[in-house]
Every structure is written in C-alpha cells, then in structure tokens.
C-alpha cells in the first residue's frame, strides 16, 4: 500500500466514528497497543521534549527503507505515534520526504499540530523527515 492508501485507511476508520470520545478511545487503544521502545533508546539523544509530554524516536535503515520505533509518556501521543509509524515506517527516504501528510487534519486531530500543542508531536514529524534526509544522503 502506498503512503496515501494507508492514510485513507486511517481516515476511513476514524470517519466511521461520530463521537469525539469514541475517536479518542480508538486513539488511546492504539496508543496502548504500541510496542514499548527498547530502553536503550530512552536517552536524551532520542528525546523530543515537548512542554507537556515527551517522545523518544529512533530510526534504522535497512535495504533502502527507514524503520522507526518510538514511544511517548502520554497515551494519546502514543496513539498519534502509532499512526505515524504506520504511515512512515518501512518507507524509502524519498517516499517520506515527498509525502503529503493529510490524515491528521482529516481525522480531526489538527489541534495536535497547532502552535499551542507543545506535545513534541510537530517536532517529531520534523525529526522523521530529518532521519529520512540523513539516510538518503548517507
């Protein structure tokens, strides 16, 4: 599946839910299902510190593809991380760098991208692109 097909899938599963609480319940469930990050990566160099929550993210490069692992100390951000990994992990650097990330907006989670949300999420997006760029140039 292409990045956009995955995004469309995500959108569809959220679209089927009407109530805000249920949407967030889904996100929470996703967050809880995220496999924990290996302790070796819970170090400052992998940390993206938001004002309210923290995200650790590590990446590896195998056979032309970037694989991400990540975690957060809040479950909701973990849910977002889960979705991001679903979209980006296992893609080529070029796919990542060219991707138009629209699903967050479309499933009504735009608030997490706003300048108000110091949850490290926007910084994490940037970090994902940085990793992709680094691997591409390496």
């Amino acid at each position: 599946m292409s990045i956009n097909e995955i995004q469309d899938n995500i959108i569809q599963s959220f679209d089927e839910i009407e109530d805000w609480m249920d949407k967030y319940q889904l996100l929470i469930d996703m967050g809880n299902s995220l496999s924990p990050l290996d302790e070796q990566y819970k170090k400052p160099q992998y940390l993206i510190e938001g004002c309210q929550s923290r995200v650790w993210i590590s990446a590896s490069y195998k056979e032309g593809k970037v694989f991400f692992e990540a975690e957060s100390d809040t479950v909701i951000v973990k849910g977002l991380v889960y979705l991001l990994l679903k979209v980006f992990s296992g893609r080529t650097p070029d796919e990542i760098l060219k991707a138009d990330l629209y699903f967050i907006e479309r499933i009504g989670l735009r608030e997490h991208l706003s300048p108000n949300r110091a949850n490290g999420f926007t910084a994490m997006l940037k970090q994902i692109r940085n990793y992709a760029l680094a691997f591409k140039l390496s």
Binding site: W20, M21, Q25, I28, C51, Q52, T74, V75, I76, V77
Partner: protein
Amino acid sequence: MESNFDVASIRKQFPILEQKVYGQPLVYLDNAATTQKPRCVVKRIEEAYFSHNANVHRAVHLLSQQATEAHEGARVVVQGFINAAESDEIVFTRGTTESINLVAFSFGEAFCREGDEILISSMEHHSNIVPWQLLCERKKMVLKVIPINDDGCLLLDEYAKLLGPKVKLLAITQISNVLGVENALGPIIELAHKQGIPVLVDGAQAVAHRPVDVQALDADFYTFSSHKIFGPTGVGVLYAKRFFLEKMPPYQGGGEMIDQVHFEKTTYNQIPFKFEAGTPDFIGTAALAEALRFIQKIGMDNIHAYERQLTDYALKELGKVEGFQLLGNIPDRHAIIPFQLKGIHAYDVGMMLDKLGIAVRTGHHCAQPLLERLGTGPCVRASFAFYNTTEEVYRLAAALRRIYKMFN
C-alpha cells in the same frame, strides 16, 4: 448553597459561558490562567474607543481630557480596590510579570549590590523567580529560597533563619497558583520588617478571590494582572509605597516619564509617571476599572464565601472519584484544585476533559521548582471563579470517572 449570591444571574453577564465546545456546554475551569469578562467590561472598551479615544495627558482637546480622566480615574479605582494610601502609589504596567521585573530592575539599581540576597519561596510562579535570577546574575547577588514541607506549606522557622542583614527584599506569593494555599503574610511581613527588609507580594492569584488591603498587609510592593481579575489583557498593576517609588530610578525611558529632555541631561516626571514610559494602555486601564467596579458591586466578601463553599464541595465530590489524587495537604484552598488521576498522564486527562467540554490546565503551571519539590511531575489544575457552579463541579467529577475508565 447559593444564598445571597445569585450565580445564575451572574453567569448571564459572561456571554462566553454559553459557548459550546465539541458539542458540549463549556465548563471553564482555567480561571487561574485567565478569567472571563463580563459584558460591562467589553462594553466599556467599545464605549471608550468610540467616544473618547485620544492619547492621554498634556493635550488641550476634549477627547484627550476625557481619556485622561478615565485613565487617571482608573488609578483611583485601583487605589480604592486594594486600599492604597495614595493613587500616586499605583503604577500601571503590562501585567504581574512586568510589575515584578520593574521592581527587580529599579529596586535592584537603587538598593542592591554584589553579595546581597533576595529571598523568595519554593512555591513561586516563574514570574516571581526569573526576574530575581536575572537581577542576581547581573549584580552578582544570591537568590535564597524558603523551603516548604511535603504538604506544600511554607516552613516558617526556616524562613526566620534565612532573614539577615544581607537580605535586601523578600518576594513572595500571596496564594500559590498551583496549590491554592495562602501564605501567612501577616507574620511573614512583620518578621521581615523587624529586620528592615521590604516585602513584595505577588497578588496575581489573590485579588480575584479575597479582599486585599495593602496597608493592613503592610506590603511594600503588591502586584497583580488585570486579565486574572475579569479585566482586559495587557494591563497590570504595581502598588509600591511612595518611599520606594521616590527612591527607585526609572525602569524604561521615553515619552510620559520625563520632565525635561536634553541631550546632556534629562529629568524625570514625578511618581507614578516616572515608571510609565510611553503611551499607556489607557483603554485597558478604563476597562480594568470597570471590572473592579463590577466585582465591588457583587462584593469581594460574597465572592470569597461562595468560592469557599464551591471549593469545599469540589474537594468532597472529587475525593470520591476513583484514582483522584489531590496535590498538597493544605487546610484551606483558594479556588484551586491540583490533582492527578492515578496512572494517567496529566496531558491525557486534560485532553479528554477538553473533549467533554471542560477546560482545565495541565503541566507545570509555570512553577517547575514547586512540582519538582513535591516530586509529582505534571498535574491537572481545576481553578474556579465566582461564576462557576456546583453543577460544573459535578460534571468534572463525572468526566474524571469516565476518563479513568477509558484508560484502564
């Protein structure tokens, strides 16, 4: 419980409270961050802009005269509100933060030198920490901190031990913006004064919740923000005893604060103007005066009594919620309830409350050192104003129950 105080009719004065959020009626419990505004305050802004908007002081035309009367009249209203001895002791600033920065700079220039000490407490807001850190760095002084106990209360004997000839000023909050605890300013100030140490009181969290009398307190400096007491954003107050205002050099330079300007020598205006450089926010001050009149009409004692009941009710109701963990162990809280839901990150709690229409604040509440001391990490803070109701508290409790289940 609402005898003598008709919260329903008060709420009608605050149009924003009729707002819906994610389809839910808004429950605004972030009052310690900023308060909502009654119609009359916004009306006053409109009226001022559309009938007497002109730059204040020194102009010969009618609009400017009216604007000046509104602006200087506001000074008198503020004076009355905190019972200052003279309206000249009221300096208008941008907010509590600027008021404290002004004192940190100008008091520092006049009264402090290398090796001197400034005393603050462990429960200060960043705005009552960082200005003193900047001063201490600039002047090679030392910042000392009064410790608190595990309950979140000031250790008064430790305080007494910290006083001494090197201490040039004590800067302390009246009510903690995280715990809601009120410090015993009476004995605290008396003790400082016995050693000739002046005291700055950060009243940001106090003015909207209890009557304040700066003369009875014998505070040397008192600061608060308009936006936290139902007034407009962008305006703050610094009360200071005449003695200090006279002795302190100006903070900022510019129009309004001067007497004569020559390239060789400039002389400054009298107080309070010496500390008010540039065009003041004369519309803001007029609107602040309106806010103060509004709450004076309701009565600060009535507000205080109502909020006490509401806070007690909230503590009781929330105490029954599974997983609810209150921060601090304090005899008497002023309209602020800091808590955690066991095992759930404060951010997650706040996010879900938002989806249920309830606005609270989460995080470190600009008091990182306090949360570090208490060892709790980020927490949720529900904070009340006199327009909040028992129904709203009930909705908060119900929401927390629901959220607890969602994450477990």
